[in-house]
C-alpha cells in the first residue's frame, strides 16, 4: 500500500524541483494528448516551446514574450500577496477591465489635447479603477464577512458588462463609422503606451512589472507587512495573536492586487491593444492565477512562470495556425501545467511511503 507521510520539515529541494517536474510531466502528457489528436508530439512541443524563442520568426515572437508576460506577472504579483495570506482574489480579470476603462476613459476625456501629464494621469486612473473594483469584495468581506472568492469572481461579469456598455456607448469612437470600440490610443501620442525601445516589446507595463517584482520581494522578505501576510497565510490565529489586524490585511491585499491588475489593464489598453473593445479582455486575470501558483507565490518564481506561460500562449498560437491544433487542446495543455504543479507540490510537505497503513 502506498501512503503519504508528513515530512517533519518542508523539503526545500522539492519546493524548487516541483515546478520543473511539473513542466516535464506536462511535456509528457501534453505530448500524449497531441499524439492522440494525430499530431507529432515532439514537433508539437517544439512548436510551442522552441519556435517562439529560436525559430525562423523568433524576431517577431520574442517581443511578444514581454508583451504577453508583463500583464501576467503584474497581476500575478498582486494576487500572490493575497494568496499567501489566504485571501483569494479570483476577480483580477474584472479589475483588469476596470483599470483599462478608468485609464482609457481618463485619456479619451482629454482627446485631442497634448500634454505630458495625460499618460501619468491615465496610469493613476487605471490603478484607481482596479483598486476600487477590488475594494468592493474587500469591504464586503471585512464589514459583512462575505466570501471574497464569490464576490470578486461575480464582479468580473459585471465588469464585462461595463466594458460592453462603454465600447458601444460612452467611449465609442465618434469617427468610427458606427463600429463598436473606442478611438485607438496608439494614434493619440499623449496617451500611447509606446515601446520604449523599438522592436523589443518593452513598454511601461514591463517596467511596472519589474518594479512590482522588486517591491513584492522586499515586502515579503524584509518588511513587517510582508511578514504579516506570510504569518496570516500560515497560521491566522498566530498572526492575530502577534498583532496583525486581519481586516486591514484584507484591504491591503485585495487593494494591492486590484491596483496591479488595473495597471496591467491600463498598459494593455493604451499599448498593445490600443482601444477599448467588447472583447478587450483575453483572460490574463485568470491565467495570472495559474502563473502565481506556478511561480510558487514567490516574486522571482512568478517572473519565470509568467514568461513560461506567455511562451505557451505564443507557441500555442503558432501551433494552432501551423499544425492545426485546436485552441481547446492548448488550454488543456496549460491546465495540465497547473494540475501537475499542484500535484507535485504535495511532496514538499509529504513523502511517499510504501507499506502497511498504520495510525501512529
Amino acid at each position: 500500500m502506498i501512503r503519504l507521510e508528513k515530512r517533519p520539515q518542508p523539503s526545500r529541494a522539492f519546493s524548487w524541483a516541483a515546478p520543473l517536474l511539473a513542466v516535464l510531466a506536462t511535456f509528457f502528457f501534453g505530448g500524449l494528448l497531441f499524439a492522440a489528436l494525430g499530431k507529432d508530439p515532439v514537433q508539437s512541443i517544439l512548436t510551442i516551446f522552441w519556435q517562439p524563442l529560436f525559430g525562423e520568426f523568433s524576431f517577431f515572437y520574442r517581443p511578444q514574450l514581454l508583451i504577453k508576460g508583463a500583464p501576467l506577472v503584474l497581476i500575478a504579483i498582486g494576487l500572490s500577496l493575497g494568496f499567501r495570506a489566504g485571501i483569494w482574489n479570483i476577480g483580477a480579470e474584472g479589475q483588469y477591465i476596470m483599470g483599462a476603462l478608468f485609464g482609457a476613459g481618463f485619456g479619451l476625456a482629454f482627446y485631442p489635447a497634448d500634454s505630458a501629464l495625460i499618460f501619468p494621469g491615465m496610469v493613476l486612473a487605471g490603478a484607481f479603477g482596479g483598486w476600487i473594483w477590488a475594494m468592493i469584495p474587500a469591504i464586503l468581506k471585512v464589514r459583512f464577512g462575505t466570501n471574497e472568492i464569490l464576490v470578486s469572481l461575480m464582479l468580473v461579469y459585471v465588469a464585462e458588462q461595463f466594458l460592453a456598455s462603454m465600447s458601444l456607448g460612452l467611449m465609442k469612437n465618434p469617427e468610427g463609422f458606427g463600429f463598436p470600440g473606442s478611438r485607438n490610443l496608439q494614434q493619440y501620442p499623449s496617451a500611447h503606451n509606446a515601446e520604449l525601445i523599438a522592436g523589443s516589446g518593452m513598454h511601461w507595463g514591463v517596467v511596472a512589472a519589474m518594479i512590482a517584482v522588486i517591491f513584492a520581494y522586499v515586502l515579503l522578505t524584509r518588511h513587517r507587512l510582508g511578514f504579516a501576510v506570510r504569518v496570516t497565510g500560515e497560521a491566522p490565529r498566530a498572526a492575530k495573536f502577534s498583532g496583525v489586524n486581519p481586516g486591514r490585511l484584507v484591504l491591503f491585499c485585495l487593494g494591492t492586487s486590484g491596483m496591479l491588475a488595473g495597471l496591467a489593464g491600463l498598459f494593455e489598453v493604451s499599448g498593445p491593444a490600443g482601444q477599448v473593445t467588447i472583447d478587450f479582455n483575453t483572460g490574463y486575470g485568470f491565467t495570472a492565477i495559474i502563473v502565481a501558483f506556478l511561480g510558487r507565490l514567490h516574486p522571482i518564481g512568478i517572473v519565470l512562470a509568467g514568461l513560461l506561460m506567455a511562451l505557451t500562449y505564443i507557441g500555442g498560437d503558432i501551433a494552432q495556425s501551423q499544425l492545426g491544433l485546436p485552441a481547446a487542446a492548448i488550454q488543456v495543455f496549460q491546465g495540465m501545467l497547473l494540475f501537475f504543479l499542484l500535484a507535485f507540490d504535495l511532496f514538499t510537505n509529504y513523502r511517499l511511503r510504501t507499506g502497511r497503513t498504520e495510525a501512529a
Partner: protein, 504 residues
C-alpha cells in the same frame, strides 16, 4: 486467576525511535491498572497496540489465555476492549444519542438507543440526558458521552487516556465512583494519567514506562507520589522554589469586564473584576471551556474591550491591540502552541519575530532585522534548553515540550511586567514543566506579575500566591492559595455542575 490481558515482549519501533521496547504487563479481571510515564515514554503506542491501531513489531498479547492480535479497532472492540480517548471525537451540533449511534456498528433505532443510554447512565452513576446537544455540554459531560459509548459495548477492559484533565474535583469523584463500580463488576481498567495522587487513590497496580521500556512496577497505595515521579523521570526532581516577596503596587486592573465569545461554542466573559499586584503569581483554575481562552484573548489584545474595563500601569488598554500592549509590557502565551502561539511551518527565527518584534527592537521603520531575530531565537533556545538543531528549524519539527519551552521563553525573555500564560506545562514532561514553573516564579521574584491559567490544580497550588477560578465565564474572588482545601477549590470551580454522585 488467569490474567484478563497479558502482554509479553511488545516492541514497536518507528524510524529513529523505539516507542516500545520489550514491554510486558498483565491485567487481572477487575483490576485498575495505571500506566505511568512522561510524554514520549510510549504509553500511547502501547494502548494503541492493545486497541488495534498499531501493529507491534515483536511480542504477543493474550486475552483470557488465547492469542489476541487485533488487526483493527473493530476487532479489539469485538474482543471486549473499549477506549476513551483524551481528545473527544464528538460532533457539537448533534445530540448525545446521535453521537453515540455514529460510533457504533449496527446502532439500534434511536428510541431504543436512548433507552439503553438512560439505563447505562443510571446504573453507573453517569447523569446524562440522551437528547441534549453536545455543543451545550461541559467537558465532564462530554466525557460521559464517550464513556457510555464504550460501556454500551460491555467491555471487559476499558482504557482511559488522561480522563481527569478536564474535570472538576467533584466530577473526578463521580468518575471514580463509576470506575470503582465497573471494577467491582469485573471490568478491568487501564488508566493513563500524569496525576499521581489520583493514581494513588484509584489504582491497584502501576506500570511505569520510560523511553519505551518498563522501568518499574509498584502498588500506588504504598508508594509516594514523589517516588513514582522520580521513577518516571529517572532522576531526582527539583521542586520549584522562590523567595517570598511582599506584593507590590497594583499593575493590572480589570473592572466589570464582560465580553461575548468570538466563537459560536465559546464562553462569554461575565463581569470579571481583578487587581493584580507586582511580584505576585495569580493562579486561575477552572474546567476547560469556562472562559480561559477568552480571558487570555481579552488580556493579550486579540479581543478588544470597551474603554474603562482594563487598565495597565494606569493607562486604559481595553481598546488597544496586541502590539500596543506588548510595547507597554503586558505579554501573553496562549494554550495552543501550534497555530496560535507559534506558526507551525515557520522557522524558530520567524516565530521569535512573531511576538518579539516590538520589545526586542527587531523592526526598524517597518523593516525586519533578521540577524537580530535569529540571535533572539538562539538566546531563547540556549536559555530555556530547547532541544533543536537550530533556529532555522520549523516550529512543527519540535516536540510539544520543547516548543512550549520556546514559546514561554520567548515571552519571559522580553522582560514582561505582566505575563499571562494559559496551560504553560500542558503535555510537557516533568523536568521541563519544573523549568517552566521556575522561570515563571523567577519573573515574579523580579517584580513582574504573572497570571497562570491552568487545568492542573497541583501546578497552581505549587506556584500561586493567590488562586481564583473561572466558571461559566465568571471569575471567583481570588483567595490566598495557601491553606485552600480541595472542597473550597471545587466550589470555586463551580462544583460538579449541579450533579451529585449517584448512589450506587
Amino acid at each position: 486467576m488467569t490474567p484478563l490481558l497479558s502482554l509479553s515482549g511488545l516492541t514497536k519501533a518507528y524510524p529513529g525511535v523505539v516507542a516500545n521496547d520489550d514491554v510486558s504487563l498483565s491485567i487481572a479481571p477487575g483490576e485498575v491498572h495505571a500506566l505511568l510515564g512522561e510524554n514520549g515514554a510510549g504509553k500511547s503506542t502501547l494502548v494503541k497496540i492493545i486497541y488495534g491501531l498499531v501493529k507491534p513489531d515483536q511480542g504477543a498479547m493474550q486475552m483470557n489465555g488465547t492469542d489476541f492480535s487485533p488487526p483493527e479497532p473493530r476487532a479489539a472492540r469485538a474482543a471486549g476492549v473499549g477506549m476513551v480517548f483524551q481528545h473527544f471525537s464528538l460532533f457539537d451540533a448533534l445530540s448525545v444519542a446521535e453521537n453515540i449511534a455514529l460510533g457504533m456498528e449496527n446502532a439500534p433505532a434511536m428510541g431504543a438507543l436512548s433507552e439503553q443510554i438512560r439505563r447505562v447512565s443510571d446504573t453507573y452513576g453517569l447523569p446524562l440526558s440522551p437528547d441534549r446537544v453536545v455543543g451545550d455540554l461541559s467537558a465532564g459531560e462530554r466525557q460521559r458521552v464517550e464513556i457510555i459509548r464504550c460501556l454500551l459495548q460491555e467491555p471487559k477492559l476499558l482504557i482511559m487516556d488522561e480522563p481527569t484533565s478536564v474535570l472538576t474535583p467533584q466530577e473526578v469523584e463521580i468518575l471514580f465512583e463509576t470506575l470503582r463500580k465497573l471494577s467491582a463488576e469485573g471490568t478491568a481498567i487501564l488508566y493513563i494519567s500524569h496525576k499521581l495522587e489520583e493514581i494513588r487513590t484509584l489504582c491497584d497496580a502501576a506500570t511505569i514506562l520510560r523511553l519505551g521500556k518498563v522501568v518499574g512496577t509498584c502498588v500506588p497505595r504504598e508508594t509516594t507520589a514523589r517516588d513514582m515521579a522520580e521513577m518516571m523521570v529517572g532522576k531526582v526532581l527539583a521542586t520549584p522554589s522562590r523567595e517570598g516577596t511582599a506584593p507590590g503596587e497594583p499593575v493590572l486592573k480589570i473592572e466589570q469586564l464582560s465580553h461575548a465569545s468570538p466563537s459560536a461554542f465559546g464562553m462569554p466573559l461575565r463581569e470579571i473584576t481583578l487587581t493584580l499586584r507586582r511580584g505576585e503569581v495569580l493562579g486561575i483554575g477552572g474546567v476547560a471551556g469556562n472562559g480561559q481562552d477568552e480571558l487570555l484573548a481579552a488580556l493579550s489584545g486579540e479581543m478588544r474591550s470597551p474603554a474603562g474595563m482594563i487598565s495597565f500601569k494606569g493607562s486604559d488598554i481595553g481598546p488597544k491591540g496586541p502590539e500596543a500592549r506588548r510595547q507597554l509590557g503586558l505579554l501573553a502565551a496562549p494554550e495552543e502552541r501550534l497555530g496560535h502561539a507559534a506558526a507551525p511551518n515557520m522557522t524558530l527565527t520567524e516565530n521569535a519575530m512573531l511576538t518579539g518584534a516590538a520589545r526586542e527592537q527587531l523592526v526598524r521603520n517597518g523593516f525586519l532585522n533578521w540577524p537580530a531575530a535569529r540571535s533572539f531565537a538562539e538566546k531563547i533556545i540556549e536559555t530555556f534548553d530547547v532541544r533543536t538543531p537550530g533556529p532555522g528549524n520549523a516550529a512543527r519539527s519540535l516536540s510539544g515540550g520543547n516548543l512550549q519551552k520556546f514559546v514561554i521563553g520567548r515571552e519571559v525573555l522580553q522582560r514582561p511586567e505582566v505575563l499571562v500564560v494559559n496551560q504553560p506545562t500542558w503535555g510537557v514532561d516533568a523536568s521541563a514543566a519544573a523549568a517552566i514553573r521556575q522561570a515563571l516564579l523567577d519573573l515574579a521574584t523580579g517584580g513582574a506579575a504573572v497570571i497562570v491559567i491552568s487545568q492542573d490544580l497541583d501546578e497552581l497550588m505549587e506556584i500561586s500566591d493567590r488562586f481564583a477560578a473561572l466558571n461559566e465565564g465568571r471569575l471567583s474572588e481570588p483567595l490566598p492559595a495557601q491553606g485552600l482545601s480541595v472542597e473550597q477549590i471545587g466550589l470555586m470551580m463551580g462544583g460538579a455542575h449541579g450533579m451529585e454522585v449517584a448512589h450506587v
